[in-house]
Structures are given as C-alpha cells and as structure tokens.
C-alpha cells in the first residue's frame, strides 16, 4: 500500500501574529485609554493601572486580528493592506480567528477579574462593536460606515476612566464624543487621497459613493460638533484653564485645516497636500488634546 505525503503547512511567524494586532492603531488606543485612566479624579495602584492598559491594548489587538480575519479578501485588493499576513498568504485564516477570539476573551476576563466588571463590560462592547457592527455589518454596506464605526475607537478613554473609578461620568463621555466626532474628518481626509484604493476594493467610502465635494462638505460639517465636544468641558467646569486654552488653540488649528479641505476644488493631478496635512494633524490633535487633559488634572 502506498501513502500520499502531503507537505506540512508552514506555521506563521510570531511577527505575523503581532502584525495581526495592528500595532500602529494600538498606539493611539493605548494612549487615549491611559489618558482616561490618568485624568480620573482617583489614583489607581500602578500595577492595576498597567493591567487595565494592557487589557485595552490586548482587546484592541484582538479586534484588529478579527477585522483582518474577516476582511482578508478586501485587504488583498488594496495596495495599502495587501502585504498583511492573511492576504500575503503567510498565515491561514483559522489561526487568525483563533488568535483574535482567544486574545479578546483573555483581555475581557483579565479586566473583569483584576480591575472591575464595568470596565470589562465596556471593553467587551468595544470589541464586539468594532468587529460585528463596523467590520461585518457597516463597512461594506454604507458610506456612513466610519461615522457609526467611529464609536469603536472612542471607547478607550471611557474604559480607562471606568477602570480607575468603577463608574462613568460627564468628562469621559465628552472624550468619547470627541473621538466619535473626530473619526469622520480624520478618515475622510485619508479616503480623499486613497480614493482609488477603496474604489478598487469595493468599499463604499464617502468619496467613492457620494463624490469628493460631498466628502469635503461633510469634513467641514463634522468639525463643528467635534470642536464643541473638545472645548465644552472647560466652560462646563469639568476641566481647568490648561486644558481649555490648549484645546481651544489645537481645535482652532484643526478647524482651519478642515476649512481649507472643505472649500477646495481639485484638478486631475492634484497632490492632495491639504488633505494629507489634515490627516497627519488629526492624529497629532488627539495626542495634544489628551495630553492637555492629563496635564490639566495634575498641574491645575
């Protein structure tokens, strides 16, 4: 009797598992979560604080892995994402699914056991929101995908605050609203200069579906409530002048860049410099706002 010998599958490298967690995105998530934790009006044991931030990072990694598991076909069609472990064929889909589910479950259980149930519940909700609501349900169906999906990225400061205080109050809700309303101008600025990539992949991003002009107008319009959410904590007495002054100045600059993008008309060979500038500054903007929030808590 003869037996067929099948080649053994090559296991994925550990670096590919790391890449699956989207470390670049995780940086901002960890930072805003840490700021939520530090801005809370109580002090948390440093070990427990570290554990809470670790859980937020692991949950973000799990959500990123499950997003890549579900979207591997889509990632293969986009220049920006085609070298990720799944579309590049360096990992099989089942390994990515097991890794994502395992990592997410571990993060939520650890948060529940070591910190508190409220932060664990919000953490679980944030993973489910990103994977089920954004990735599976909205992303391929509606140009409003990132508007509603933006809530997924807005959870970390809320989780950080809940980890420290075991409750949620007005200030972290404003931080949630700020990130939620910041997401559309941030993503649409990116979508304007990688429009063809999204169109090729069949993702109904706003510039692909409604056109460039509508997207520009929406960037301008969303900047208004975003600015209100960023500045409001100061006049409402939730923060002091340090946050108020920094937030007002940083938001004014954001609004200026957004206005520039909103009122532009572009030709065929446009290099999209203002859009790239707005996208780059929008990331720095969140770092500035959240750093100011923590500085305000400790210096005022």
């Amino acid at each position: 009797m003869t037996t067929m010998t099948r080649p053994l599958p090559v296991p994925a490298d550990w670096r590919d598992f790391l890449a699956l967690t989207k470390p670049g995105v995780m940086r901002l998530v960890v930072f805003t979560g840490l700021c939520g934790l530090l801005a809370a009006p109580v002090t948390i044991d440093p070990v427990l604080g570290f554990t809470a931030i670790l859980c937020i990072a692991l949950a973000a990694g799990a959500a990123g892995a499950l997003n890549q598991w579900y979207e591997s076909d889509l990632d293969a069609r986009m220049k920006r994402t085609r070298n990720r472990p799944l579309p590049a064929g360096r990992m099989d889909r089942q390994a990515a699914l097991h890794f994502g589910v395992g990592l997410g479950a571990f993060a939520v259980i650890l948060m529940g056991l070591a910190i508190n149930l409220l932060s664990a519940a919000i953490l679980a909700a944030s993973i489910l929101f990103y994977v089920v609501i954004y990735t599976v349900w909205l992303k391929r169906r509606t140009p409003q995908n990132i508007v509603i999906g933006g809530a997924a990225g807005a959870f970390p400061p809320l989780i950080g605050w809940a980890a420290a205080t075991d409750h949620v109050s007005a200030l972290p809700l404003f931080m949630f609203a700020l990130i939620f309303l910041w997401t559309p101008p941030h993503f649409w600025a990116l979508a304007l200069f990688v429009k063809s990539d999204y169109a090729n992949a069949g993702v109904p991003m706003l510039p692909v579906v409604a056109g460039e002009q509508v997207t520009r107008t929406q960037i301008g319009l969303y900047t208004i409530p975003m600015a209100a959410a960023a500045i409001a904590p100061w006049p409402l007495g939730l923060t002091h002048a340090i946050y108020g002054i920094v937030a007002t100045a940083a938001t004014a600059f954001f609004a200026l860049l957004a206005l520039q993008v909103a009122t532009r008309r572009t030709g065929a060979d446009d290099r999209m410099r203002p859009e790239k500038r707005l996208f780059a500054y929008s990331i720095a903007y969140l770092f500035i706002i959240f750093t100011a929030l923590v500085a305000d808590r400790f210096l005022s």
Binding site: P7, L8, V10, P11, A12, D13, W14, D45, V47, L48, T51, L54, A114
Partner: protein, 46 residues
C-alpha cells in the same frame, strides 16, 4: 519547487521561535499575576 528538507527546516525554526515567544509571554504573565495578587491584597479588594 521547494526542497522538502528546506521546508522541514523552516517549520522547525518557526516552531522553535514561537515556542520561545510563548514561554516568554507565559513567564511575563506569571509575574504580572503575582503583582496583581499583591496589589489586590494590599488594597483589600476581592
């Protein structure tokens, strides 16, 4: 076509490096859980 011996070597290398990373992560978790327990005992929370 790739040499089966090369594939075998690559698989072994990958398995070794993954085992090493897993061992490091488990060791880090043991240390973390120890310090979490100490923090919980000190603060008197369950």
């Amino acid at each position: 076509m790739t040499d089966p011996q090369d594939d075998e070597d690559l698989i072994r290398r990958r398995q070794r490096s993954r085992a090493r990373v897993t061992a490091l992560l488990l060791a880090a978790l043991v240390i973390l859980f120890f310090f979490i327990s100490i923090a919980k005992i000190r603060s008197g929370t369950p």
